[in-house]
Structures are given as C-alpha cells and as structure tokens.
Amino acid sequence: MPESAALQRLRDAARDPRAYVAQWRAHHPGCFVVGVMPMNFPREIALAAGVLPVYVQDDQRPVAEGRAYLPEFYCGYTRNLADQAATGRLDHFDALLLADHCIQLLGASDVARAIGDRPVFFGMLISSLSDSWAEKKIAEMMGHFRAEFEKLSGAPVEDEALALAIEAYNADRQLLRRVFDERAAGDTTWSPVELQDMVVSAQVMDPVEHHDLLVEALAAAPRGERDDRVRVHLSGHLCHAPRRELLEVIEETGAVVVDDDLWSGRRYVQSLVPFTPGEDPMSAIGRWYAERNVDLPCPTRVQHDVDWDAWLIDATRRSGAEVVVHLMPKFCEPHMLFYPELRKALDAAGIPQLLVETEHEGIPLEALRTRLEALVERAVRHRPAYA
C-alpha cells in the first residue's frame, strides 16, 4: 500500500528538521525558533511564548570539525552536536536551551556557546527526585524558564497560553501513545522506523500541525494482527534516536519490535502534563517533570523507589515481548552504570537479552545481524512446544 502524504510529511520533518524550521519561519515571520536539548525540556512554556521549540536531533552526519572540540570518547550524539555547532548547522536556531544535567551534553552545549553567537541557557532541573525539596526546586526552575522565554519574546507568558500549549502537546503525545499501546497489544503493523519518524517529527514540529498530520496518517494506515515472529522490546538510547538501519536489521532477522523505552519512542510519549482546566499550568508542568521518571524510569534520575529494571519486566509482560535488545550508545555513562541492574533482573525473570553498543558511525551491521539471529533462535527454542 502506498505511503500516505501525511506520513511522508512527518518523515520529512523527522529527517530534515532544518527544512521544517525554514518552512515554519516562512509562515511565522518574526517568530523565534529555539533548539532545546533532550530529555526533559518543558516545551509548553516556549510554545506559550509564541516560540517554536525544536528538540535538537543527531543529524547522523559523520563527525568532522566537531572532533576539534570534543574528545572521541564523548557519546556520538554530543560529538555530533559539537560538529553541528562547528559547521553552522545550528544556525537556524535563535537560542539553545537545556534542562538536563548530563556532563557530555553540557560539554557539547558549552562548545556551541563558545563558538556561536546565540544565547545558550542552562536551567538545571534537579535530578535527585527523592528529596523533600525537589518539588520546590522544580517549580523554581520552571519559573526561570518562563522568565527566559518572556525575555526572548518580549512579552509575558500568560496562563491561558500555557494551558493551550499544554493541551496541544498532550493531544499529540496522547495520540502517539495510543499508537505505541496498540503496537504493544499486537494491533498495528508499524515498523520501528515508521514509529521513530512519527516521534522524532513530534519532537521537531508544531504540536497542532503534527497532530493533524498524525491523525491523517493513522487513518490511512493498514492494521493487522501480530504474527508469530519473535517479539522484541528495545531498551535504551535515552536521549537520541538509534540509526534507522539498526532498527531495520532487527526486523530483518525474523523479529518484530512490539515495544520500547527509547527516547525516540515510548519514552517521549509516555507522560502527559497532568493539567486540568482552572489549575495553575506551571504547577502541572512541574508535576509532569517529576512524574516522567515514575511513568518510565530513566537512569539519569535518582529516585530510590523507582526501578527501570522492574518497569522493563512489566513492559515485556504487557507486550508479550520474548526478548530484550539493549541499545546502549557507546560512552553513555548512566546507561553503562545501570545496565548490570537490568541484566540481573532480566536474567532472574528468564528473559533472553542482547546488549548492542551503538556507534555514531560504522555500525557493523552483518556482525550484529548474526548476534540478533542467535537471539531470535534462542527465543524460538524457549517457546513452549504445541501440544
């Protein structure tokens, strides 16, 4: 079945955010576009100020001039960001902002600040979420972001505008989450690459425009029941999308991806801002941040009673995933630190798993294919024999 025009537009925005930003600017003369860094940026505040906030993507180009600014043992995403900064590929943004304390992301952002002429604002959201003062500090920082966008746009950010922005992003995330839930339930036939394009485009686009296109794309989508391929849960890649060829090779080995906790997947869509009309929208945005780690735990947060390993096992039970493939970007320290806990828990639960360390360039796809095929074979052998 031919791809719908709506899906093509989502894919275009996901794979060429600069072109999308140029189009958006053409339709919104005089408006600002800011680049925001993953993973927890309150984009609603920017949108309420009339600013388009675009999550800065790994544009998957080889790192060239960026090598002069960050060492080779920084993760591929941050080295790619440094390369984008060094070659003018961030020039379509009026400012850069970030909220997450990742030392590698800070390194890349510092490069962008040092060699660029645009503001780079870091509002550090507290990552130790078990602390009794966390709620207060979150609220303070959200207030700083509001002030920053008021400064940028030159006008107050009104509560009514915040409410509208929350509703717009919530509607878009909710629709995306429905797609992920349907996939986990076995009701859809979306490939992991198609879903990645849907999510990444949501991270780039105006939420209302994205929602409308997504509605159209879903209406034109074929649906089918899940077949008997080995069911895979993809785990990891906390802040940027894995390369598409990697996702393709997983399904080429006779597996079907049924769920994930990727940044370019369920991790982005899992949490809605818990807002009800009439309440303080800033308070709701603060709760969104605080609850994101509960909805889908992240090893970059410290919260003693929230466990990624337990969430992962529950997720495999919900989706019927038979195996877990860990996609760990090389040099991602929070993932490296937490991986043994995941491995222990999955081993204890009897769930086969495979760790794939992903590189920014030069993924050895054929070697990876062999390992994936072995995992699939192992899963098939673990299936109960029919009576």
């Binding site: 920084y74 304390h101 800070l106 390194g107 130790s128 500090k137 003693h304 090389k330 630190l337 360390e357």
Partner: protein
C-alpha cells in the same frame, strides 16, 4: 639546535620531590588502616563521593570512605585489578568512569565478603588485596558537583547493596553562568547556589543525627573546619611560593598532598603537615633548590590525575627539564578559597567549596582560571591529560587550549591516559608530543617571540 631530550643517562633523577610528602604518605596509610578496623571499634561507616564532607562525618563521629580516593589509592598502588575485574564480571563497561568502576567493583567484592559478617572486614579470602579490605557501608552520602555520573554512581551503589543502606544526596547546581553578572565567586547565580547547597547541608545534619542516634556536634564541626581552613591557607601560601623561578616544588609534589587536604581529619596534625610543606618549600627557595634540576620549561597540567603513573610522569617531565607547576586539579580544587570559610558558622563556606569543584564550571570560568594561573606561574606550555573515562574534566579542554593559544600564545599538547585504568595510557603519544612542544618553545625563544614562547622566555635561566 634544540635539546629537549635528556642529554645523557644520569644516575640521579632530575626531580627533587619534597621530603615531607613521605610524612603525608604515612598519615594516609594510618588513616586507611584505621578505617579498615572502624567497625571493630564500634564506629559506623559512611561511603561518600564528591566534595570533602569529612568534617561533617568527623563531627558526627563516623568513619568515612571517599570512593574516589579509595579508587585512586588502589590505582596508585597498582592494586586496582581485582576490583575492576569484579566490576567487569558484574557487567560494568570498561569505558565507564574508572573511579566508579573500581569503587563499584569494591562494592561487589564487599558483598561477596559479607559471607563473613562477624569479622567487620570483608573479603577475607582476598585479604592480600587492598580492594577487598574496604568495610561495608552503614550509610551513603553523595556530594557530587560537576559530573552527572557522580550522583548516578552512588545511586547504583545503593542498588548494588540491595537498597538496604540509607542514602542522602546533596544536589549541586552547575555554575553555567547564564546571567550577565555571573563570574568566579561573584554574581547572583553563585549566591543562590551557595545558599541552596548550604541549606542541604543542614538537611544532611538531620540525616546524620538520625543515622547516628545522637545530636550533631556543631562545636566539633567548627573546630575541625578551623584546622582545615588553616591548612588550606598554608597550602595556598605554599602554592604561591612555587611561582618562584626556578620553582622550588612541582605539581607532582602537590598531587602527593591531595589526600591529606581532601579527606584526613581536621586537626592539629593536618595543620602541622601543611606548615611543614610550606616550610620545606621556603627552605628550598632560601637554599636555591628547585623541584626540577636545571628547570628549563614551566608547564601547566590540565586534567584529573593519572594515579597509575604519578611517579613515572614526574620523572618523565623532569628528564626534559620541564617543571610542571600548576594545574586545574591543584590550584582550583581542595579548600582552595579558605577565606570563604567562617569557622564559627562554616556551612556556607563548605557549601561554596563543594560548588567550586573544578568540573562544576562552564568553560568561560575555567578559561578565566586557566589563563590566570598560566600568567601567574609564567607558564610556557600546557599538557592536557585527555582522561579517557572522565568526561567531566576533558569536556572543555579543547576550548581551553584554543584560548591559551589565542590569548597568551601558549602551546599545548594532549595525551591519553586515565584516572585509574592504566590500559588507556599511551606512552609514545606523550613522548613524541611533549618533545615536539618543548622544541616549539625553544624555537620561539630563539626567535625572540615571547608570545609564542610563553612567559618563561622572559626569565633568566640558571647557568
């Protein structure tokens, strides 16, 4: 003709290390031996990481183990192998911060050793290895500024121990410098961050009271911080003396003095130690003794220490007549601004020092500090230790190198190594790049290009 290589093999090394550091080594050894038997003497044990919270623990009557310090000690003694192997078997990737990997490996060994719970010392089967002697924690405190991995590391330690050990986190705002008034020790961001961390230290005291079951001794904290402040002042005065040409002591001597200032108890012995360090440096100046015989080059070292290679690097640089004099890890760390400490109410000054971790600044502030120190020490070149598993230290290094070149005409080199994993050290790269940089400095001096030759070209060298 440049002569950067050693002219002839010499029976005696060209490095003249401070004799007093041997006394520091003894104090450190005594400290660890005391920690290893702390449980047997009825004390609770806290594992902590990041800024020097030891005065708090001292006042609370706890025994304390600084995770990075223990990993560094293992590496310096070449005993890190068993802990790193245990960590690797548990699943930690070799590219993970080797401090955390070593320390978590110790945690794994400690858990294995808990099969002998009555001994108070775990891992009796590995008693020969220092890694296995670390007593299990009764509580964790995380106090990590700058590097995001620090907080995650202790959270994982907490999970490795089955969530059965209480934990407290102190969160530190990264001193990014958003506002126009931001700068080193100044500006509203600095003031707000200082108060925020200070308030968390008050919460930490409540936590310690619960854990120890007794009131916190504020007088003991003031007393401890009085000694530490004095030790910090003496350390700074000693560092200032090393601006002399030729330098009476080197960066490597000060590296040997890190452990005492970083985690030994605040007491008269600590003050005496740093008084002796300063006195020996002054005596050397009076007697015309330099840290490197026939000092020819004055270098700055940026990066966290390569603990596996401390003595080796000291000798290597000295062979070339290169005195390494200053570095981010010395001048800009470890109670380096003692004037901030009000001994009658020390919490704010302590909080500020935790924030002043040399990885907790944006590159603008680091640039200011690096240029300041390069100028005041008359630096000819910078050696960047591209510390493989420490992304916090290495992140801004390339920006710093560019700035030193553009603003002071100072050349720099990078070499690869690591804090606690010797496998990342690249000997040939350091050799060839160091020789090349020293030759470049020579050439610039011959041309009379003071800017390219660094400040050292302006001084007269010993005959």
């Amino acid at each position: 003709m440049t002569t950067t290589a050693p002219t002839a093999p010499t029976a005696e090394p060209r490095t003249e290390r401070l004799a007093i550091t041997r006394e520091g080594g003894r104090m450190i050894a005594d400290y660890w031996e005391d920690l290893f038997v702390a449980r047997e003497s009825g004390r609770k044990i806290v594992w902590y990481n990041g800024g020097a919270l030891n005065p708090m623990f001292q006042a609370a009557g706890l025994a304390w183990c600084h995770g990075e310090a223990f990993a560094a000690r293992l590496a310096a003694q070449r005993l890190e192998g068993p802990a790193q192997l245990a960590g690797a078997e548990y699943g930690y990737n070799a590219e993970l911060c080797s401090y955390s990997r070593t320390h978590l490996g110790c945690a794994v060994l400690t858990l294995k050793g808990s099969e002998e719970p009555d001994s108070g010392v775990v891992g009796l089967h590995d008693r020969a290895d220092l890694a296995a002697k670390l007593p299990a924690p009764d509580l964790f405190v995380n106090n990590y500024a700058g590097c995001s991995t620090g907080q995650q590391w202790d959270e994982v330690s907490y999970r490795v121990f089955g969530k059965n050990v209480p934990i407290f986190n102190v969160s530190h705002p990264f001193l990014w410098g958003n506002r126009p008034d931001a700068g080193y020790l100044v500006g509203s961001e600095w003031d707000e961050a200082s108060r925020y961390v200070r308030d968390q230290l008050v919460e930490l005291i409540d936590f310690l009271e619960v854990q120890t079951g007794r009131p916190f001794d504020y007088d003991a904290l003031s007393e401890s911080m009085t000694y530490i402040k004095r030790a910090g002042e003496l350390r700074r005065e000693g560092l200032d003396l090393c601006k002399a040409t030729p330098a009476p002591a080197t960066f490597w001597d000060w590296i040997s003095c890190i452990a005492p200032i970083n985690f030994l108890p605040g007491n008269q012995a600590l003050v005496d130690y740093f008084q002796n360090v300063k006195d020996e440096i002054q005596q050397r100046i009076d007697a015309g003794i330099s840290g490197v015989r026939d000092e020819k080059y004055r270098l700055y070292f940026d990066g966290i220490m390569n603990w596996n290679k401390l003595g080796f690097l000291s000798r290597k640089f000295a062979e070339h007549g290169a005195a390494v004099l200053a570095g981010r890890y010395i001048q800009n760390a470890f109670w380096q601004e003692p004037h901030l400490i009000d001994t009658s109410d020390p919490l704010l000054g302590m909080a500020q020092h935790y924030l002043l971790c040399p990885t907790n600044h944006g590159s603008k502030t680091l640039d200011h500090l690096t240029l300041r120190d390069c100028e005041s020490y008359g630096i000819d070149g910078i050696v960047f230790h591209s510390t493989r598993t420490c992304r916090a230290f290495t992140g801004p290094q390339r920006l710093l190198a560019r700035s030193a070149r553009d603003n002071l005409g100072i050349p720099s080199i990078f070499f690869e190594g690591d804090v606690a994993d010797a496998s990342f050290y690249k000997e040939e790269i350091l050799d060839s790049r160091l020789v090349a940089m020293l030759e470049a400095i020579d050439v610039a001096r011959e041309r009379g290009d003071h800017r390219r030759a660094g400040r050292g070209a302006e001084v007269a060298w010993p005959a």
